[in-house]
């Protein structure tokens, strides 16, 4: 009745069996399904982490969220924070490590670009308390600007990196990383990918370790405040650490199918596979499916960098052909320094972009093992589905107002939900956090320096992104004499990643009251002369304000104008419902022109065919009423109840 795929016997566990895991001293408590990111959070607490800092970003966001929950549940003694950005997060947690306490910083791959400065330097200074840098990569990419490989960043910084292939392994690797870091006094990167972060797996829960590490910062200026001369010494020490780490047997690649490989079997030419991360899990499953698990030696590398030179030399002596499977750049492959017998991304054997899905790995394996390709599977053609802003999203109203006030404008934008303003034609550029403001400056001066008439520039940035990287860019824009309108889309939360607080929230994760920052005050302090706030649901007032702001930006004695479009995110359940739901109805004036659907794109507005009046989906409509003003034909109106 049930499909037998590999012919392996079923693995069944006993609940609450109290089995002790020999590798770890912690007591087994119970069994639960954990998200990969939750498993990492458990790993941190099992290994006595005393501080974790983070900036939210998919697919890394849930690690700190899980830590916050566990801290509350178990009344734990540790400092957790959503920092203003990744660089700050890194430095805060690093100081805790300098004070001899185990620490972690968590971010997504593009966040590490922001934290690259402390990363490179911390490799030289080293650490005291174990310091784990958790960086989640996003091959695909599913929700990122790039599919860059953070293991390369570890390599560039000369830091060891661990590459887990499942949620359970990610949890175990945290402890390994923590110990490795402490043993060699070096930051250690843990690099899960989306498929690990957002996989769920059942595992035994373990109790958390006692965490009573007393902070003790030992002054050592030659190390912690090293001048360039001492930096050279630190660099030499770093190189020595790396050499030793590469030889540490706990982290060396191992031959996974040693027992299964038939000793008499010698495929010609002699081949083997080296894999890490999720690509390893796929390869194992596919080789079992193809009946080749007992024929091709498969080495698994828990630590893709640094690889021991002896491992490379041994493999090149033993095998004629070596296939490297890893995500998403050739990190192990480049350490092999052989372009003839080593196959991977640099030889075109493995695609140089895109996620290594099981289908891709199968096709690579078949090619490498000279098997016929798998029969192709037909993909049916069907209309695509693109994501859109939620019904009632205040950003949609603001974007519509911008379109009205800045026809044919130039619209630099930024990273967040509002990137979806693309659909409305009001987002022209999306580069990285904070770039909207610097690019608005660049565009302005491009036209200005060429003595050309500039299109009216209206940049958009979210509140959390503004705090993250927008403030230096705004100061720069002001002091460079740029002229544009900046709209700060203030929904009082970090919506895209699951509603993390911003510096304007006025309290910490633990609910402790702290100063509440005012965005208009900050903007004024950056030297902006025109600052005004408006509610995007008051659409007509918002359009008027934007026109006024545009005038200021273009006036002889004007300058940069900032409009704060303020209304809480509808999906943020932690904020009180800030509007009165007023159902909207379709009037006899609606002739089905489709203006509202094409120009406003609210998912609650449904076309019923050409020249047919539209329909409002009552299940989706938030009752914000903005569409009533959007319709040029009075085809929509508020429904008065009763």
């Amino acid at each position: 009745m049930f499909p037998v795929i590999h012919g392996l016997s079923v693995y069944r566990h006993r609940q609450h069996a109290g089995r002790r895991d020999s590798a770890l001293e912690n007591k087994v408590t119970t069994r639960q399904i954990l998200l990969g990111n939750e498993a990492i959070a458990h790993g941190l607490l099992e290994s006595a982490c005393t501080m974790a800092t983070s900036y939210p970003g998919t697919p890394a966001s849930e690690v700190l969220g899980a830590l916050v929950k566990l801290k509350k549940q178990h009344d734990l003694k540790l400092h957790l924070e959503w920092s203003i950005n990744e660089k700050v997060a890194f430095e805060v947690a690093l100081a805790n490590s300098f004070a001899g306490r185990r620490s972690a910083v968590i971010m997504k791959q593009v966040g590490l670009n922001v934290a690259a400065d402390p990363l490179m330097s911390a490799a030289y200074t080293g650490v005291k308390g174990g310091f784990v840098v958790v960086v989640a990569d996003d091959p695909g990419p599913h929700s990122s600007q790039t599919e860059q490989d953070s293991r390369f960043m570890a390599m560039a910084a000369k830091l060891p990196v661990l590459d887990p292939s499942s949620p359970a392994e990610a949890r175990d690797f945290v402890d390994k990383a923590m110990r490795l870091s402490e043993k060699y006094e070096i930051p250690v990167m843990l690099r899960p990918t989306t498929r690990v972060c957002h996989a769920r797996q059942d595992m035994e829960l373990r109790s958390f370790a006692e965490n009573d590490q007393v902070p003790c910062f030992e002054k050592d200026p030659g190390r912690w405040a090293a001048t360039p001369k001492f930096r050279l010494l630190l660099h030499r020490q770093l190189n020595e650490k790396l050499e030793k780490i590469a030889l540490d047997p706990e982290f060396s690649p191992s031959l996974l199918n040693q027992k299964e490989i038939a000793p008499s079997f010698q495929p010609q030419p002699r081949s083997c596979i080296v894999a890490s991360g999720v690509a390893f899990a796929y390869a194992q499953e596919i080789l079992l499916d193809l009946g080749l698990w007992d024929k091709i030696p498969v080495y698994k590398a828990p630590m893709p960098y640094p690889l021991a030179p002896a491992f490379r030399d041994d493999l090149l002596a033993l095998y004629e052909r070596i296939l490297i499977l890893e995500e998403s750049y050739p990190v192990m492959e480049l350490q092999f320094q052989d372009r003839v017998r080593v196959f991977g991304r640099t030889t075109g054997t493995v695609p140089a972009s895109g996620e290594l899905l099981p289908e891709v790995v199968e096709s690579v394996l078949r090619g490498f093992l000279q098997l016929p390709p798998a029969p192709p599977i037909a993909v049916p053609g069907s209309p695509g589905r693109r994501p859109t802003l939620c019904a009632g999203c205040p950003h949609r109203a603001t974007f519509f107002a911008i379109k009205k006030a800045f026809p044919n404008g130039l619209y630099p934008s930024d990273i967040g939900c509002y990137t979806l303003g693309l659909n409305l034609g009001v987002v022209d550029t999306v580069l990285c956090m904070g770039a909207s403001i610097s690019q608005a400056t660049g565009f302005y001066h491009a036209y200005q320096a060429a003595h050309e008439d500039a299109p009216a520039i209206c940049a958009t940035i979210g509140d959390s992104t503004f705090f993250h990287a927008g403030i230096p860019a705004l100061i720069n824009a002001v002091v460079q004499g740029s002229r544009f309108v900046l709209v700060i889309l203030d929904n009082s939360t970090t919506a895209m990643t699951g509603h993390q607080p911003t510096p304007a929230s006025g309290k910490t994760l633990d609910g402790v009251r702290v100063p509440k920052l005012s965005i208009p005050d900050l903007v004024r302090a950056c030297g902006v002369g025109f600052v005004a706030e408006e509610d995007p649901y008051r659409l007509e007032a918002m359009i008027e304000l934007l026109k006024k702001a545009k005038k200021h930006a273009q006036a002889r004695k004007g300058g940069i104008a900032v409009v704060v479009a303020k209304r809480p995110c509808l999906m943020d359940r932690s904020q009180a419902e800030s509007w009165t739901r007023k159902p909207v109805g379709v009037t006899s004036q609606c002739k089905g022109c489709g203006f509202c659907i094409k120009q406003f794109e609210c998912p609650a507005l449904e076309s019923q065919g050409k020249k047919q009046p539209i329909r409002i989906d009552p299940a989706l409509c938030s009752g914000c009423g903005v569409c009533v003003v959007v319709c040029p034909h009075k085809g929509l109106k508020r429904v008065v109840s009763g």
Partner: protein, 206 residues
């Protein structure tokens, strides 16, 4: 055959739907039911655009497997929360797969703006049936409405899956999963939705 010795390796279930339909919750229900039964489980989901009208895909692998990602042609069960998404995910299925598909459409924007057309329901049914004969084709939203809440259509579909007999999971494990996964105030309504789906399935899926 006694459950302890039943020879099965893994059952792979692929879920697809549109952001807001509750596919991820349904995925978790199935995972928790497997755990309650004492069977290993791995799951995978793609977040990010989940709340915003995009396609949401997830998977559950019950039993012994190394990876939760389901390659093309290897889903033993396809849970499609929307008929067009059933067609889009069809390459995941093999000839013996079971497809449980909700027939209530969610029209994409490309259709609303006239850039593409939504296929006729009958045509979708035909295209799917051509490849996979084992198809349960039902209006889960209607069943959920009758059971008490339109929003519980995801639990209706989980009930259909439970009633199909394709998974080695007992009724008590499903009950346990509902209790573990859902807030207490919504367990009742979801139990009714689950039962509606279960009964539909037991009646032969018609």
């Amino acid at each position: 055959m006694a459950r302890e010795t039943r020879a099965f390796d893994a059952v792979r279930i692929f879920f697809t739907g549109v952001g807001g339909q509750g596919t991820l919750l349904a995925t978790r229900l199935v995972g928790e039911a497997a755990l309650a039964e004492g069977i290993s489980v791995t799951m995978s989901e793609i977040h990010g655009m989940a709340q915003r009208g995009g396609v949401v895909e997830s998977s559950v692998v019950i039993g012994n497997a190394f990876s939760p990602t389901i390659p093309d042609g290897e889903a033993d069960i396809l849970m499609a929360f929307e008929p067009l998404e059933a067609l889009r995910a069809l390459p995941k299925c093999h000839a013996q797969s079971l497809i449980i598909a909700n027939t209530a459409p969610i029209v994409p924007f490309s259709v609303a703006t006239g850039q593409s057309t939504y296929p006729e329901l009958a045509a979708l049914h035909g295209l799917i049936k051509e490849k996979v004969s084992n198809l349960m084709w039902l209006d889960a939203v209607e069943l959920a409405r009758k059971a008490g809440s339109e929003r519980a259509s995801n639990t209706v579909l989980v009930g259909v899956l439970a009633g199909s007999g394709r998974l080695p999971l007992g009724k008590s494990s499903w009950e346990e999963a509902l209790k573990r996964t859902l807030a207490p105030r919504i367990v009742g309504i979801n139990r009714q939705a689950f039962e509606a789906g279960y009964a539909f399935s037991r009646a032969g899926g018609v």
